[in-house]
């Protein structure tokens, strides 16, 4: 994809007004604060930075492999490399089912489904090409866009029907689907996803009044880039394990699989519904 189109897509996708439902999620931050586990010793900002590092790290390690794999599935189908719609759909379902089975915390699972479904709707209603613009566009790759749109619509239908074996439509999988359908590169898509996760946590912190809006900007500019880049680099080689049967049982193969790296965060996030008063849904 040409650089200018890619940067334009990044502008659109990083818009905080994008209707993806992320504004109701705090990724366990609200629960952490309520349990008096947010504050850590150190200069101002140490606490939110520590939370961000842990949260970004565990999310990258547990979710990004699914984002990358889903992106590849959709890109391969859109380009015609995978011919059958059913094969691509089955692969996405396997990814989503495994992510669902690996996400052992019901609060995170609930938030993930809500945001994932919102992304599929965003694509089918907000990012497909309106018919008035079909004919004259210079950058219109008709075949590719039609195949991508058909796959996303089929997936959305399956999620919505909610039959017993249907995919739930989890956020990391649907993000990979969205960016794969739009033609972003897989690395760009993963990078943006992780950045948005971190920014979502920060804006939750601002709304909870534990970080000021200017301090949040400072962190975004000076600290978050390292956190996101490090997590991306250390997880780039991971696979979801859902698409291949070849996963050997030696520890080198095991270590390429997704993992959660923050058990305390899991407990706190799962206790979110116990909070007496709460602003967020997760």
């Amino acid at each position: 994809m040409q650089d200018d189109k890619e940067s334009y897509l990044l502008l659109l996708l990083s818009d905080a007004n994008l209707p993806t439902g992320s504004f109701v999620a705090s990724a366990g931050l609200e629960s952490t604060a309520a349990h008096a586990l947010f504050h850590v010793p150190g200069p101002p900002g140490s606490d939110i930075l520590a939370f961000l590092r842990s949260s970004v790290d565990t999310y990258a390690r547990s979710a990004l492999p699914f984002t990358r794999d889903a992106h590849h599935v959709v890109a391969a189908y859109a380009s015609g490399e995978t011919l059958e719609l059913d094969a691509a759909l089955a692969a996405l379902t396997r990814l989503d089912t495994l992510y669902d089975a690996s996400t052992l915390n019901h609060v995170a699972r609930r938030a993930s489904c809500a945001q994932g479904a919102a992304l599929l709707t965003l694509y089918t209603r907000g990012f497909t090409r309106p018919s008035v613009l079909l004919a004259d566009a210079a950058d219109y790759d008709e075949e590719r866009e039609k195949r991508a749109a058909a796959l996303v619509s089929a997936l959305k239908l399956r999620v919505r029907r909610g039959e017993p074996d249907a995919p739930a439509g989890h956020l990391p999988v649907c993000w990979g689907v969205l960016t794969g359908a739009l033609g972003l590169t897989v690395d760009r898509g993963a990078h943006l996803h992780l950045f948005l996760h971190a920014r979502g946590v920060l804006s939750a912190a601002v709304r909870m009044n534990i970080v000021g809006p200017y301090a949040a900007q400072q962190l975004l500019l000076h600290a978050l880039r390292r956190v996101v880049d490090d997590a991306l680099r250390s997880t780039a080689h991971l696979i979801s394990g859902a698409l291949r049967d070849e996963v050997d049982s030696d520890e080198q193969a095991d270590e390429r699989l997704p993992a959660t790296t923050w058990p305390l965060g899991e407990i706190l996030a799962a206790r979110h519904d116990l909070l007496h008063s709460r602003i967020f849904n997760s």
Partner: protein, 291 residues
Amino acid sequence: MSNGGHEAGHGNITAQIHSNRVVFPVLSYTYPLKLLSPRVQQDGVAIVYMITYGGGLVCGDRISLSANIEQDAQLVFLSQGSTKVFKARPGVRAAVPVTLRTLGATTTVTQQRLEVSIAAGGALYLLPDPVTCFRDAAYHQVQTFRLARGASAALLDWYTSGRRARGEEWAFARYYSINEVFVEASPLPRRTLADRMGPYACYATLFLYGPRVQGVVRELEERMRAATVFQVREPLDVLWSLSPVRGEAGNEGRIVRVAGKETEDVKKWLSDALRGLVDVIGGEVYSKIFI
């Protein structure tokens, strides 16, 4: 009981019911692994202790154990004291077969593998003491459980921050654990975990599934429903969560996670939470767990 098998650190168990008692047609092990089954009075239940030479594991040790629990047999699987993982064996270097060294760049990692299949009506209660990794030790554990429909399991995976008496707190290199649970071959959760901690000194994950643990599940759900968190000033001594996970319709599994400031706190919490097992495995057997 017999010493069978050829490779080091291997164990095999088959448990079945023979006129109301659990018997072991197969119970074999090789150094440094040892399996012991003390006699118990309770019908239908047996205990197996997994013991390692010197009560610990050294880098490069590979323990591999498979168990087959046949219809209606209930097996309680325990360790004798916390499993200590050393970076290197203090003092004598015991004979290590050459095959271990030729397995690539993995000799510094201590590995433990467990594969268990459980038939209908059968149950596995895997309730060992926690794993304690000493400074710089690396531990890698893969546990796979295959449950038939109607089988039950209570699977505990827990670890401490290290030898705190010696000032070692989260000083180990890594603790990596994969638990795979299949019910009739469809994967339930896979949980993996690598080296990251918090202010707590002991973490536990408990997986509950099947008809025999429903009493325990019901009680935990009741306690969770009654809990409400107001803003607290100080971190709680014990923090726990309960989440349902997919299973057959109407028979979901549960994941319980516990963190505690002290290992004893977590042990006490677990022993209390699982007390309902007394109705299933009997008081005598239960009294040997969490001591």
